[in-house]
């Protein structure tokens, strides 16, 4: 088992009163799964994804990742777990505008212990795999949305994470570009990468092996 959420609650304090963003979430994810999270806007999908990705904290409940209790880990340890196993893909791509495609791909490696030749090899691999060798010296603003998202995914994959978290990865793309991205996810999943995606599209959800529905912060 890759990860397990038990009775997760998250709330924020507003005007002396608790507003619940997530209520009693239980979730098990096995390695190699491809899960889609769906639900209306504001139902807590992104919040849940961020908690799984350890970017956000929760108020109550337990979270075990590869048998490590995330809820009681020190920040440093948690961040090491995260660095090693998790990659993020965003709706708005979130590439660094000042960096070229090549440098965007290289960036996460700089925060991990890779030698410069290893970095070169890994980046070259990714550029190859996603067919963007010709674009490596361009800046994000010179790419189409679909191409930017390709770079975003490549960046998420570069340090070979076990788990890819994607928050509406096709939200800003047209349907053809979206389909390509989903095909790539399918391929990745076949290669053994676990994927959790948030999506509004029923069609995209069918790429996954399982769908979780949220409503008002509760799993239904």
């Amino acid at each position: 088992m890759l990860l397990e959420l038990n009775n997760i609650y998250k709330w924020v304090q507003s005007g002396g009163q608790k507003i619940f963003l997530l209520k009693d979430i239980n979730l098990k994810v096995e390695e190699g799964e491809f899960i889609s999270i769906m639900g209306p806007s504001g139902s807590g999908k992104s919040t849940l994804l961020n908690i799984i990705g350890m970017l956000d904290v929760f108020n109550e409940g337990e979270y075990n990742f590869l048998d490590e209790p995330v809820h009681s880990l020190k920040e440093k340890h948690r961040s090491n777990l995260y660095k090693q196993y998790i990659g993020f893909v965003f709706q708005a791509y979130h590439l660094l505008d000042e960096l070229t495609v090549y440098e965007n791909l290289e960036m996460p490696l700089l925060y991990k212990k890779y030698s410069s030749s290893e970095r070169k090899a890994l980046v070259a691999d990714m550029l190859d795999k996603f067919n963007i060798v010709g674009k490596q010296n361009l800046f994000p603003s010179q790419l189409s949305g679909g191409q930017q998202q390709l770079v975003g995914i490549a960046r998420a994959l570069i340090s070979s994470p076990k788990l890819i978290l994607a928050d509406e990865p096709t939200g800003n793309l047209n349907s053809k570009q979206g389909e390509e991205i989903m095909e790539i996810f399918k391929e990745l999943n076949k290669d053994g990468v676990t994927i959790v995606q948030v999506t509004h599209s029923e069609k995209n959800a069918t790429y996954g092996s399982r769908t979780i529905n949220l409503l008002d912060g509760r799993k239904i």
Binding site: D56, H94, E103, E106, P108, Y111
Partner: protein, 805 residues
């Protein structure tokens, strides 16, 4: 990895050109100003420093005034040095200087004027560690009529050939001949006693123009005396012993000593070798240097913090990609170091290129050399520390954003350090207003000094003085002053001609003094120093000095008499209540009787930095200066130049060779304030720079806050706000902040400037409008800077602002 950081930083700077420009310019200007001022300060503080200078002291005279002694004369007697050395074993050596100003040399008919030097004891070289390039320190100044020339003067006179053994004619109120016995290595310019030649003490014995100075005496104190004490001497104890010893059997004065190194910034006695600097001025400038540098860092902090809001997304992405806080802080710091390094490079270039202008504007003579650079290194450390500190705050803010919040783009100005930014802006404006008030007060004081009536009219009066170098030329004029006078009177525009030893604004040079005087009522005053000089009868009329009793001297065939004119202050000292009664009374000094022929209204002889002194003006036709009063039409019709040329021709017709000098009295009087004017100029420059830095910061800051409030402005406009409303919304905060800065700045600057004004005997008032002008200037500058941005935002189409969300 560092490569990448640098790459990112430089691309970021290139992409955000306005931000980078404002930041780098602000820092460059700040650092350049800081370095310039530090160079100036270092130069001032390094006066008279040489190997062993810490053991050298100057002997000066204290005079009893009332019940307390106060410094009365920077010069002492020719017996002072030898006596002190004999009396106190801790004194190793002494050297006496008889100062020779405006000395002329002639070598084979070539004339070299305007040299400053001194007649000194042979011991000069054991007190002052100035090396000889040629000659031997042991005997260079031993023989009479020996001269040691400074390298550059020797080269000027003799060119490349060796001057040793050559003879020279030297003119100083008369001629003598000297032989060159040594070449002195050029002395650094920052010494309070600048000599480009030294003449042996024995020369005094025969130099006719300088009588009564050679024989040991306790009556002529015309010598600067320096003593060198043994290492580890308890200098306070020595000073106490010197103060307590009465060498000359005169209880109304005493000897005192002061450290050589402290003279330039701390001594301001009568008869100084030159007008000295001032410690308080140095401190003021130091404060300004630090204010400007800190202002530019505050600017950086402010801009970088504001800009960091825009970079929140970047931080979010980095964190999501695995960056940890220290790495992000490091990167951000690297960026600020990069910006500062660029600024330091630009500042260095700016310093090198502006130094000549700075020098000519402030009258300094600063240079960049390895010693200066070495001296500045500790400050470089300070600059570096400031860089790191100013980079740290934005770095901490920046790296602290939570990735979830940052990626949503929800980091808002209000949530992060807004209070700190407000504080920074208030501090900047506080400093700006303080500097503005300072500038205005300094300017006002200088204007006050210049415009205050001085009790004499110096307009269109020119003082001519000259040295006759050879008399071979045959002429009707001969050496007769009277004939010169009548010849001059024939020139157009000349209204009056009179000879005088000195004049208002002539300083202590050419002014004699007496301590010990018997008043008409028989009281003897032996405490106070009284100044006196010679003039011809027409002097008072020429300078429009007003008599309150009696009148000027009568013209006599002898051209001198025992008559004197005194000023009101003198009369008051003599306890004469009814001034009319002073006339024909007798005063005794210098062992002679002097009869008062008139009392003039008090006038300022020394400028308004000091109080009016009692003065005794004696009747004697001194050839030192010929004062010529020109008609005021001379400037508009003929121009001074042509008239002065005619005067010079009269001299040239009389003497084959002469040195001809003239001075405009009004200009010379004003030149007493030169130091203050230079200070005012420096103050003004740096205030303008400070304002520039502060406005750049404000400009940069508003350009971002306005961007951030674009949506708010759009919503307000859609809901009916007009441009004035929007401007008011955007600007009212700044008005509030500046008001706050103003309230803090007023008492502080008021107090500081009051202290500064204490250095002047006559001072302007710090009127309320000074504060009003400073406050309004700051406000107007700030509002203009801010409105430039706000107006753009207020005029923008709200639809554009609202649609991208």
């Amino acid at each position: 990895m560092y490569n990448l950081y640098l790459k990112i930083a430089s691309r970021f700077l290139l992409k955000n050109k306005l931000y980078s420009f404002i930041n780098i310019m602000g820092l460059s200007v700040g650092i350049a100003s800081f370095v310039l001022i530090m160079m100036y300060v270092a130069n001032e503080r390094n006066y008279d420093k040489f190997n062993g200078s810490e053991n050298v002291y100057r002997v000066y005279m204290d005079y009893l005034e009332g019940n307390t002694f106060s410094p009365g004369d920077a010069q002492s007697y020719n017996l002072s040095g030898p006596t002190l050395k004999k009396e106190f074993p801790e004194i190793k050596e002494y050297v006496r200087f008889f100062h020779l100003q405006k000395t002329t040399f002639i070598n084979e008919n070539e004339v070299f004027e305007g040299n400053k030097g001194a007649i000194v004891d042979p011991s000069f070289f054991s007190v002052f560690d100035y090396p000889l390039v040629k000659g031997d320190v042991k005997d260079a100044l031993a023989a009479p009529n020996s001269i040691v020339l400074q390298e550059n003067l020797a080269e000027k006179i003799f060119g490349k050939e060796s001057p040793i053994g050559k003879t020279l004619s030297i003119f100083w109120k008369g001629e003598t001949t000297v032989t060159v016995t040594g070449i002195l290595k050029d002395i650094p310019k920052n010494t309070h006693i600048k000599n480009n030649f030294l003449v042996s003490f024995e020369t005094l014995k025969t130099w006719k123009a300088i009588p009564r100075q050679y024989e040991p005496n306790w009556s002529q104190n015309n010598f600067f005396t320096y003593i060198k004490v043994n290492k580890n001497t308890d200098i306070d104890a020595l000073q106490q012993k010197i103060i307590k010893t009465n060498f000359e059997d005169d209880l109304d004065e005493r000897h005192n000593i002061e450290s050589l190194e402290s003279i330039h910034l701390n001594s301001n006695k009568p008869y100084e070798a030159e007008a000295n600097g001032s410690e308080s001025r140095v401190k003021f400038l130091l404060a300004i240097a630090f204010i400007i540098l800190i202002l530019s860092w505050l600017n950086y902090v402010n801009l970088a913090t504001t800009k960091s809001l825009e970079r929140a997304k970047e931080i979010g992405i980095r964190k999501v990609s695995g960056a940890q806080r220290p790495q992000l802080i490091f990167q951000s710091l690297l960026e600020s170091v990069l910006i500062n390094c660029i600024a330091i490079v630009i500042a260095t270039i700016v310093v090198v290129f502006t130094l000549p202008f700075f020098n000519s504007y402030t009258g300094e003579d600063l240079i960049v050399n390895s010693a200066v650079v070495l001296g500045l290194l500790p400050y470089l450390g300070f600059i570096f520390l400031g860089t790191v500190l100013s980079g740290l705050y934005p770095a901490i803010i920046l790296s602290g954003y939570s990735p979830v919040v940052a990626l949503k783009g929800k980091v808002r100005a209000s949530s992060n350090g807004l209070n700190i930014r407000k504080g920074l802006i208030i501090t900047q404006f506080f400093a700006t207003i303080v500097l503005l008030i300072g500038t205005i007060v300094v300017a006002k004081q200088i204007k006050f000094l210049e415009n205050q009536p001085i009790g004499a009219n110096l307009d269109h009066v020119v003082a001519f003085n000259w040295e006759v170098l050879s008399k071979s030329k045959d002429s009707v004029l001969k050496r007769d002053n009277k004939l010169f006078e009548s010849e001059l009177r024939k020139l157009p525009y000349v209204k009056n001609v009179v000879s005088a030893e000195t004049y208002p604004g002539g300083g202590y040079d050419n002014l004699s003094s007496t301590v010990g005087i018997t008043f008409p009522n028989g009281t003897v005053d032996e405490n106070r120093i009284f100044y006196t000089y010679n003039v011809s009868p027409g002097y008072f009329n020429l300078l429009d000095m007003e008599f309150v009793a009696g009148s000027s001297f009568l013209e006599t065939a002898k051209r001198s008499s025992n008559k004197i004119v005194i000023n009101e202050k003198m009369a008051k000292h003599m306890q004469i209540a009814n001034l009319a009664e002073a006339v024909d009374e007798t005063v005794k000094f210098w062992g002679e009787d002097w009869v008062i022929s008139g009392v003039i209204k008090d006038y300022h002889h020394f400028g308004l930095k000091t109080a009016i002194e009692p003065i005794l003006i004696r009747h004697y036709e001194d050839k030192n200066n010929l004062l010529v009063k020109f008609d005021k039409s001379v400037t508009s019709v003929a121009g001074f130049g042509t008239v002065l040329k005619k005067v010079e021709n009269i001299w040239d017709n009389a003497y084959a060779q002469n040195v001809f000098n003239y001075t405009f009295l009004d200009k010379e009087f004003q030149s007493q304030y030169n130091e203050d004017k230079n200070f005012g100029s420096a103050f003004l420059i740096f205030t303008v720079l400070a304002i520039l830095i502060a406005s750049m910061g404000l400009f940069g800051l508003t350009s971002y806050t306005v961007v951030q409030r674009r949506k708010e402005i759009g919503v307000r406009k859609v809901n009916g706000a007009n441009i004035v409303n929007i401007l008011a919304t955007l600007n009212k905060d700044f008005v509030k902040w500046i008001t706050l800065a103003f309230i803090v700045a007023v008492p502080i600057s008021w107090f500081t400037m009051l202290k500064w004004l204490e250095g002047f005997a006559y001072r302007t008032a710090i009127s309320w409008w000074v504060f009003a002008v400073a406050g309004c200037t700051a406000l107007v500058i700030a509002l203009l800077t801010v409105s430039w941005q706000s107006l753009k935002a207020a005029l923008a189409n709200p639809v554009d602002a609202l649609k991208d969300e």
